[in-house]
Symmetry: D3
């Protein structure tokens, strides 16, 4: 019945991370499989995949919200990864997260940058010039 939404959501999720939908569904299976459906169908299928805003801009908004709130660390990690996947550069991610210091304080920015550091290490990318100072 809701397969169109689900397909569109799954497709959007795959652009962020091919394993995202599977991990979400697996994590929620023993407790709230309907919640995973909602994430896929509504979160990604109805909202994030709307045509009025490009995926890069959506990721910048998402990074801002998650880093500003501070507590959703796993989601921030996932969306830093997703930001890389939609073509945002490591340097742009770092700039976005540094900027969090102005609007939500240095601790929120610092902790977000630490999360980014872990994601970058896992993906083997760096925001620094290749000659790699420091």
């Amino acid at each position: 019945m809701s397969s169109e939404r689900a397909d569109r959501g799954a497709a959007y999720m795959a652009t962020l991370d091919p394993g995202l939908e599977g991990a979400l569904r697996k994590g929620m299976a023993p407790i709230a499989p309907d919640f995973a459906d909602m994430m896929v169908e509504f979160g990604y299928g109805e909202m994030m995949s709307r045509p009025g805003l490009d995926p890069k801009s959506r990721q910048f908004v998402t990074l801002g919200i998650l880093a500003g709130l501070g507590h959703p660390v796993d989601q921030l990690k996932g969306h830093i990864n997703g930001a890389l996947s939609v073509g945002i550069t490591p340097k742009e991610i770092v700039e976005a997260l540094m900027q969090v210091a102005i609007y939500a304080g240095f601790p929120a920015a610092t902790n977000a940058l630490r999360v980014a550091k872990r994601v970058f290490a896992e993906r083997g990318v760096s925001p620094l010039p290749s000659s790699g100072e420091n």
Copy 2:
């Protein structure tokens, strides 16, 4: 001594709103003029004007942080205005703020959209097709 930072900050602020620096300095004059200096010199002159991220993307991050936190209403209003000034369309702003519902809840998104409605009315713009809303 810090005139280069101040000039760069003032120039960046002017791209968001020609009256922004003046309003900030006037508001802080009777209580904390140094704080206005910090906003101009550090906030805008050192951080926001860094070349590594374009102004549109910075505004998307800022909208995300402010709408997600929920309480900084005046700053959200100012940065929705600034988003329009750097070329983000009303429709893109609406999409960005709708998306806040996913990551910070519908109330945060609803209240942010209401602020946008006021800014759009003041500037005489609309996110809806010209043939009319709904």
Copy 3:
């Protein structure tokens, strides 16, 4: 296509406040009518109207979230009103909001109680014994 969800959402909203859906749609009409659809169809039609939890308990959860976050004042007002509509007594609402002090601090509880005072006055109800307060 989504009429079943929309109908179920509208019906649930009506149990909280007969004017809620209309006010939501009117407020969002000039800026984000799709967002109103999402609230009705997803928020109320898919989530809040799920059969696994009774409406009173859902309102208690909602009061806790909104009062704890502190910034969504209009939504808290609406859901205090909705709590009365689904049969929660004024006294129970007061008890729930007082309890917010333990988990989110006295200021959050105080401000929520002030909102409740306004709602109770509008509806002509009181949490105190009829012989009078204090």
Copy 4:
């Protein structure tokens, strides 16, 4: 002097978890034993044990506050456990926490559901039908 409050608080805590008071007092003993007293005497003895709201409803409010705030993970874990103890079913807890997505965003709800998953596993209960779909 405050033994009546302390007794009432201890009794209420025991209904949530027989080991709760002991764990609290042990944890605070080397640093702030008075703080443990306040939790028992004021938090539970004066506030939570008030007769005007039943323990189930109090737990729903508490789950809403803690899941909405996002950062008090240990307390959320404790109160999910307490919710089970006062007779809220695993399925009702899941419904309550899913609903957090509407008012505080999907990340807050997701993280709360993950905490519930751990509590359910520890207590050997499940919110799903026993045939265990998904």
Copy 5:
């Protein structure tokens, strides 16, 4: 029964603002008089009046919490007033609130400084050198 706590709380409140207890009790009378009792007896009588920390330091902690959270505007206003009453200078208050920018962002600090500006105006004090502001 609890008169010692109540007296101690009332005395502490009076050092912050002679009208504080009365305003609190009056505001809560029609809805939650017990909550006012708790504020006086527990909040001020048991916690704030503890001898282990001087009133000035307690006000600095309180200003940090309230300004950092951002949403409790009325309470921040009250405690800026209370800070003046216990001998913190307008300039020290401004410094404390400016510092909020580092740990919770410039918007939180800006909004707190605006509240301070109103309190200072009401009390006829200024944080600036008497020869005048910048």
Copy 6:
């Protein structure tokens, strides 16, 4: 060019923890060395080292913000350590963090006290009388 700010910031940081600047620079080196500069030069060199407020009072404000927000756990740990370094006693720190319960809820206070317990253990200090009751 900014060496005066940097020197002043580094000197202030050293009063909190001789290893603080080095740890910050090392942590940010692979991802955002400019961000470490900003922390040293602006955060500590321009803001925290301002003469208008003594270091103890600044630490009380900082403890309030960080404990109230709840999510910046590492920063809270660092600033509890810094509080000890500028001469705030373990007992005063405990009092300040207990007080967080009034303004931001018991969970925020409890978690902050747990962080303090770890810092005190690492530094071999205690807030309790040496005979160690409780």
